[in-house]
């Protein structure tokens, strides 16, 4: 049960996705067969296409993922729910994911980088020089022409996968935070072009990951001496549920070590009617939670964060719609929206502030980011400190 308030999205197929215990795929298949009469067929090794839809009583076993896609009639569904409850398995309706399609035409010229102008980046004399900025995501196309000559440190925390980004999300986020002042083509989109990018692949090429790889990535970034850590990922939280004590401790330790964690608030809102709470891990008090603005400097319709009890409100807002950035070759450039783009935007400006104030690190840098923000008239508390601003 999550607090997402976007009816109709994600739409569900009627099938059930069953997450089995780590390394227990075969045992799980036997249990599902014996307990509820579902017969699982292994997914073909190396198959790229989705398996055929399973009928009730049938299913597909993803051995390497310790997961199964199950067709269940109402009786089997009840049995499956009881089994999951008893055995600690996670059962979720299978979601329909929409392809990343063009939603709006690419803005021309300077309009493509509207956020840089609106937040004072284009007028800033700082570039983040000497500041280490970590981007924890799906990796980066290290040979992209806009990054090929940069000294990028990188490490993959996804078993079996190199840092190279085949998804595009990580390359987009790295580009917004640390892209060049003069890209190979088109208008500037990157903020901290003088910063030292540290890229950790913590999500696979389908943009999936878990706490384990993300925490390992944060640990690496702290060890590398990064002052800014951008993590453009999240997961919904239960309505009224608290924040993660583990992440809060991690974020507090990162601050003590001189690193600010910056995370997106989430995209499940449908403003103005429904505003979802800030997602995990951005909802931890020591993590800087970032909401997304549209080109009118109003909260984007999808941006989470409401005035509520607990930490369900964002700390700061940043541009997050129609954001131009780089994309893995051969595409090279893309336009994207989401609080995923707003978080690395704040990370980039944080690097500029860190260069401008060499003694401000950790909690002091976090306070400086908030202090320099510009409050929006009439929306004071719900927008946290307001719109992020470059020095």
């Amino acid at each position: 049960m999550t607090a997402s308030c976007a009816p109709g999205w994600p739409a569900c197929t009627g099938r059930q996705l069953v997450l089995l215990g780590a390394g227990t795929a075969r045992a799980g298949a036997a249990l599902l067969h014996d307990a509820i009469g579902v017969r699982l067929t292994p997914a073909e090794e190396g198959a790229c296409a989705a398996p055929a839809a399973p009928a009730p009583g049938e299913g597909v076993l993803f051995e390497r993922l310790d997961a199964a896609l199950v067709g269940a009639d109402p009786d089997q569904m009840r049995a499956l729910a009881a089994l999951a409850h008893a055995r600690g398995m996670t059962v979720e309706p299978e979601r329909v994911l929409r392809a990343a399609a063009v939603r709006s035409p690419l803005p021309d010229g300077a309009h493509a980088s509207w956020g840089l102008e609106a937040t004072g980046v284009l007028a800033s004399r700082y570039s983040g020089r000497g500041v280490r900025v970590a981007i924890l995501d799906t990796g980066l196309d290290l040979q992209h022409p806009d990054f090929a000559r940069r000294a990028v440190r990188s490490k993959s925390f996804v078993p079996g996968l190199a840092v190279h980004d085949r998804n595009g999300h990580g390359t987009c986020c790295a580009g917004i935070a640390c892209g060049p002042d003069r890209p190979r083509r088109g208008a500037r989109y990157g903020i901290a072009f003088g910063a030292e990018p540290y890229v950790a692949k913590v999500l696979d090429d389908d943009a999936h990951g878990t706490d384990g790889s993300v925490i390992a990535g944060i640990n690496w970034a702290v060890r590398q001496g990064c002052s800014v850590i951008s993590i453009s990922l999240g997961t919904p939280v239960s309505e009224g549920g608290g924040y993660s004590r583990v992440y809060e401790r991690i974020a507090a330790r990162a601050l003590a070590a001189g690193a600010v964690l910056i995370a997106p608030a989430g995209n499940s809102s449908q403003r103005p009617d429904c505003i979802s709470p800030v997602e995990h891990p951005a909802n931890c008090p020591s993590v800087l939670a970032v909401g997304a603005l549209n080109q009118n400097l109003a909260p984007a319709s999808f941006s989470n964060g409401r005035l509520d009890t607990g930490k369900h409100v964002v700390d700061i807002m940043a541009p997050g719609t129609a954001m131009r950035s780089c994309a893995p070759r051969p595409t090279l450039y893309q336009v994207a929206s989401g609080t995923s783009t707003a978080a690395p935007f704040v990370a980039g400006i944080a690097a500029l502030l860190a260069e401008a104030s060499p003694n401000a690190r950790g909690a002091a840098l976090r306070a400086l980011i908030l202090k320099c923000a510009r409050r929006l008239p009439g929306r004071a508390r719900a927008d946290g400190a307001g719109v992020v601003r470059a020095p």
Partner: protein, 92 residues
């Protein structure tokens, strides 16, 4: 018997274990104590004071009681935070 074992293993979950500030210098001893109560320990993240691994759901209360442990959480799955359909692979 084999099925019983399989059922137990189904309840094995990935966990993150936060170690208390005053125990971070002895994180390896904390890890050893966690293994003794059933943690299959896979990683020690010194810089943030966290142990990672897998454990049966039934041992999580014991794990939380290990001296030096302040929080134990089952790991969550993550997704990126882009608006579906908003990213475009357009060349320019």
């Amino acid at each position: 018997m084999r099925l019983d074992h399989a059922v137990r293993q189904l309840a094995r979950v990935n966990v993150a274990v936060a170690v208390a500030d005053d125990s971070r210098d002895s994180i390896r001893e904390v890890a050893r104590a966690c293994r003794a109560v059933g943690l299959e320990h896979t990683g020690t993240l010194d810089d943030v004071g966290v142990l990672t691994g897998t454990a049966l759901l039934e041992v999580l209360p014991e794990l939380r009681g290990v001296p030096g442990v302040i929080a134990v959480e089952v790991q969550r799955p993550f997704r990126t935070q882009s608006v579906p359909g908003a990213a475009c692979g357009r060349r320019d």
